[in-house]
Amino acid sequence: MGHYTKLALQVWQSRNEPRRAAAVETSASEIHDFATRTARMIHKSHLYLKNVDADDFIAGSSSCIFTVLGKFVATYEQRRAAGVCDTAADPFAAWTRTVLENLYIDWTRRIGRFEANRRKLVRDEEQGLGELIIGGGDARFTLTLAELQEMDSWNAIDRIVLVGVLRCWHHVPAEMWRRWLREANIEQFPADSLLAARKGQQREILAHALRIKNRNGIDQRLRRIVQRRKKPLATTAP
């Protein structure tokens, strides 16, 4: 019987015997090390995940193995009873690798879906925002005088946030724009870094330029603007 298979059976058999638990602690620790090493190897061989996501996968790898250990033991006992087990081989090692590889791929897909959803949410929000504020369609990048006057009554940072996200600062009359920047206590906007930013980085850079903690702060302000604009004009007027 293979080394790790022996350890796995020991751990499984002692699960309901607290007195033996201390004795198999070393076995459990050895399985933990093996699962963690295998998870690190799977990640560094495939590199589907970013390191920050891979750290979570690696940290959770051994607990995943312990959670489904019963399935391995049941299959192993069946195969042993049927006489189809190779006594020299270590089926637990092969099983651990398969489980962790599947988990890694599942993790990658889930993160991929999450990222795609997040990008879609941002896109929808920008689109919805453009329609709410400016009237939708191609007119998204123009601001009418009435809209500018309405924005004039908003919080100073909120104005810059909206204009920064929609990138339509060139539609604000120069005099009004200078006053808005003065009121928001900003010297120069947009900075070169914002102009050069790629799509996914824009809000982060905007947050930095407006001295807002992070991109979540920008998102919160945008949500408040959308909510305010959904109400009738009379109730939003100061």
């Binding site: 090493r37 190897m41 560094k44 495939h46 081989a89 270590d90 090692a93």
Partner: protein
Amino acid sequence: MIPSSSCVGSSPHSKRTRFTPCAYELLQRDGQSRLFGLVRDQAVSPAAALAAGDELIHRLEQWLRSVRLLPEHLHEASPASADALRHRTIENRMQAWAALLALDHAYAAAVESGSHLATPLAKFVDQVLERIESLDAMITAHAPLLRPVISPAERRRWRRLLAPQYREAQLPWLCD
């Protein structure tokens, strides 16, 4: 001829034998075959993987040092040498990836077959992983320095060379 375990010893990379360079070459070729999509059925034997240990650890440390010093070296280099340094960094990391793939298969085969060399190989794997993680952290920190030689076309070219299962990988050395 692949060396027996007796000439490898319990601490593989503390001993350099006359087999070490050819064992490393074997590991590298096996890994490159996997990485670039040539069919490989059999893994490198655990003894050969252990024999390559000294060379692989030595190279990983050398690559780590050169990435750490990359800003200074680029500062002193002419534009042509600077680009050569950048390309060399990328090629070194690809070599590390290939070696790790071969080692991964060798380790899995050793453990699953119940080989007595699985335990020393596990220690070696831990040390290689540790160094590759440090190398990646350093490359990520210096990724903007590599950007001048990573055009979208260059990135596509590298990806096309890889086996299909590795084309979606997130590669910090290609500024992903």
